[in-house]
Amino acid sequence: MSTAINGADTAWILIATALVMLMTPALGFFYGGLVRRKNVLSTIMHSFFMLALISVQWVLWGYTLAFGPDHGGLIGGLDWLGLQGVGLDPNPDYAATIPHQAFMIYQAMFAAITPALITGAFAERKRFKAFVIFSLLWATLVYDPVAHWVWGTGGWLRGLGVLDFAGGTVVHITSGVSALVAALMLGRRLGFGKESMDPHDATMTMLGAAMLWFGWFGFNAGSALTSGPLAVNAFVVTNTAAAMAALTWTTVSWMHQQRPSAIGAAAGAVAGLVAITPAAGFVDARAAIIIGTGAGIVCYWAVQLKHRLKVDDALDVWAVHGVGGWWGAIATGLFATTAVNSAGANGLFFGNPGQVGVQILAVLVSSLYAGGATWLILKLVDRFVGLRVPEAEEIRGLDASQHGEPAYQI
């Protein structure tokens, strides 16, 4: 295999890295608009701080655990600790035409946004200190191993033929299921179901969603790791699925609640982006329309189910990322075709029903592992630090109680 560096591929991956980097603060704005005004700064800080925290963790030990030389299909070795041996020559195991460090920093942005997604579940009530320690442990004990299973050379799920182009399993299922566990363990916010917890700034949420959509082109099209036709396919299906899911969520909410919700359109777009993530390099635009439609429907009803069960996953992380991730992973097994990507596999609609089984196995394993490990980590953090702020601080708001700074002076 050729290992010559290609300038166009390298430029595209660096741009895609910057696009994915923008998604984490965009997530902060998406979530920030959805909380009450007394908690907006703390919510944005969760995402902003995460970008910094995981950027350093990734360089020191995260990257080698996820992508380092394999140990039993389960974890990468410590050979690349502190990026020793991760140089400017390509690593053909992962990307033959870009410097190894370009691949590493691109993956760093995925590692950063994944635990940031979980913060929507415990918004408005978690201690900042507990958030920091939980996030560091979760990135190390959940994200890094699962990334190795699915994407690492020698990873056991990769060996079974699981298709996950840009992180449906690694990013969205792990974070979505962990969010549900976190919401259940932290308990409901004070006043949940009794007082209004409506979004304090829907415009901020819409802006955050638009920035996420923009950044997602880097997330999915960048995952081609080249600047060629596969990146173009991923770009097209990403936009198509996001659009179709935004339309569908709006339609379903219009029929169910007699109003075409703007925040619903934003949530729908994100659900579509989640669902197309594992499929982006394996399906065509017609399948993307079906995947987007499914995402808009199943994620909307997952939100309704959450309300009915009175689970305070504050910002619908499980419903959008968990359920959207499940749907996307299974849909990849339905609609994948080697006509799009000869390195992939065919799905059920193209004569290979076995791919659905492999995808379901990955869904189950990643969900169970992420959920169980999250429960254990939260128990540990609660034991030593305490997960929740005291009642008085929760009533006062986390901006004042955790950061000593009001978000707005107006």
Partner: protein
């Protein structure tokens, strides 16, 4: 086959938009606006 399903997914929604009634403003939003301080609503 995928094209047929995709077309149905989209056109069914277009039909729904035509059929759905005009949207009344939710009562909760009206109440929130009317209870807000006048200066908060003022335009400089």
């Amino acid at each position: 086959m995928l094209l047929t399903i995709a077309l149905i997914c989209f056109l069914a929604q277009v039909l729904a938009w035509v059929m759905l009634p005009a949207t009344p403003r939710p009562a909760t939003l009206v109440a929130a606006r009317e209870s807000a301080p006048r200066e908060a609503l003022a335009v400089e």
